[in-house]
Amino acid sequence: MAGLCAGHCKKLVMEENGLVKSLRERFPDAILEVTALRDLKSEITIRVKKDSILDICACLKKEFKFNLLSDLCGVHYPDKDEKFEVVYHLFSIETKERVRLKAGLREGEKVKSVTSVWGTADWHEREAFDLLGIGFEDHPNLKRILLPDDWEGHPLRKDYPYRSKDAEPEKTP
């Protein structure tokens, strides 16, 4: 019973939401899927096409006042077709709303950098590049940030060994 209600509420949150509606109107093709955690208004996830991420972000910042990029990170799904997901957490200091954007990427694909929209994306994108190997187009300074420049591999990928004994023995030159 509770589950039913939750499901209903969830649907309400997703469909009745003004933001989602207007975004659907503005970008009819780019929005792929909208999900939410239970009935939480702050946990709406909008999955978008990766090519239009920059336009959507610019629009969200300009017209919906999402002036703060709280977080940007990547997730690795080795079993899926789109192996990488870039997740953007946006927050509006004026309206106190939160929204999560997601863009899927295939192996080797790149996504447009949002550094032109939010300056803070600079280091976040460098981190995603460093730890997951996600490429960002038009990033001003895309290089490793946490790991040394000559590090091999991207630790947060699921196939990267967790323990040192699982790793390949180091080659001595």
Binding site: L69, S70, I93, G119, T120, D122, W123, L146, L156
Partner: protein, 370 residues
């Protein structure tokens, strides 16, 4: 560049990773023209331990101790952010008493963290005595925490669904005593600094950042409030039971080092106030909600952020619904993001301002590098 008479060249100074006032292992590559900073590159990662990778291979409960070691000066708030994120994902209702205890310790932790900031910031600028005064009071808070959970730095106190143990009998009394006398001690620090001519000369107009630029660069916490943006997660999205307390958010005007200093000083007073209210209202009851022994949240993802002493501390957790460890745990550390605006703040300042600005940003490298 055209050369007239003697040729001049810029001096490249490597500040850190071992340097007394980079607050850890931060490394700055400064390009100096005389004493003026022309360019600066921030190099981090010397303390990278791969917390996010570790978290993917440990279960939800075990990850609490990893969060202790992020911002090691404010372990309680790190615990809080993490357990609340998991609770949000699992839809757990935490008992009243546990919520009050959490708020009490989180605000005490904020005071302790700000005390370390004040002490080190003042010491960087040369006022060494303030440092020892601050640590005197921090010691008392640490003693309280030691009573509570036996640890003085990495507490591992919060649990998913509540807190690990109830308050000892004399905790409330001792904490209340501290809270009563603390405002007077803040006045003592202020006597040494607030109206001090040298302190004013060193902080007013140094490291100015406008509210707009601050938001663009993701600044949060006292740093953005110093620039006049009234945004505090405790008020904007009241988590836990913060909507029940009466407190103000201090904001600055100009966004310089001095305003940020004033904001943090006032914040200590407000936190003190919250602790006082929480101790007065502390209800009896359970300290743990009924949570399963093995934590296995449903499939889904959650982002939860709280107002840590340094700014917005967020946890993004992806659960695949089948595993007892998170599929992906992303930490949004306030220090990491705040440090990004260092480059903008330092341009055109002098070498001595570098340390003033590092101090005012209040970074902890354990959190920056994770």
């Amino acid at each position: 560049m055209e050369e007239k008479g003697f040729g001049t060249e810029e001096l490249i100074v490597n500040m850190g990773p071992q340097h007394p006032s980079t607050h850890g292992v931060l490394r700055l590559l400064l390009t100096l023209d005389g004493e003026k900073v022309v360019d600066c590159e921030v190099i981090i990662g010397y303390l990278h331990r791969g917390v996010e990778k570790l978290a993917e291979n440990r279960d939800y409960k075990q990850n609490i101790i990893l969060t202790d070691r992020l911002d090691y000066l404010a372990s309680m708030t790190n615990n809080l952010a993490y357990v609340q994120a998991v609770e949000k994902l699992m839809d757990v209702k935490v008992p009243e008493r546990a919520e009050y205890i959490r708020v009490t310790v989180a605000e005490l932790q904020r005071i302790a963290s700000h005390l370390v900031w004040l002490g080190t910031h003042a010491m960087d600028i040369g006022a060494m005595t303030v440092f020892l005064y601050c640590f005197r009071e921090r010691e008392e808070i640490l003693n309280l925490f030691e009573m509570l959970c036996g640890a003085r730095l990495t507490y591992n106190y919060m649990r998913i669904g509540g807190v690990s143990c109830d308050l000892p009998d004399d905790f409330a009394g001792k904490a209340y005593k501290f809270v009563e006398k603390f405002p007077k001690l803040i006045d003592e620090y202020e006597v040494l600094l607030t109206k001090n001519r040298i302190w004013l000369d060193r902080t007013v107009g140094v490291g100015v950042i406008s509210g707009e630029d601050g938001i663009d660069l993701g600044l949060s916490g006292p740093n953005i409030r110093g620039s006049g943006v009234e945004w505090d997660v405790r008020k904007a999205e009241p988590y836990s039971i913060y909507d029940r307390f009466n407190f103000q958010i201090p904001v600055g005007e100009k966004g310089d080092t001095y305003d940020r200093y004033l904001v943090r000083m006032e914040e200590m007073r407000q936190s003190n106030n919250i602790v006082k209210q929480a101790l007065e209202q502390l209800p009896e009851g359970e300290i743990m909600a009924k949570v399963p022994r093995i934590i296995k949240p449903p499939k889904g993802e959650v982002y939860h952020s709280i107002e840590a002493p340094k700014g917005e501390l967020g946890f993004y957790i992806v659960s695949d619904g089948t595993s007892t460890s998170p599929y992906r745990l992303k930490i949004r550390p306030p220090s990491f993001v705040n440090l990004e605006s260092f480059k903008k703040m330092i341009k055109g300042h002098l070498v001595a301002d570098v340390i003033a600005i590092i101090g005012t940003l209040d970074i902890v490298l354990g959190e920056v590098d994770r």
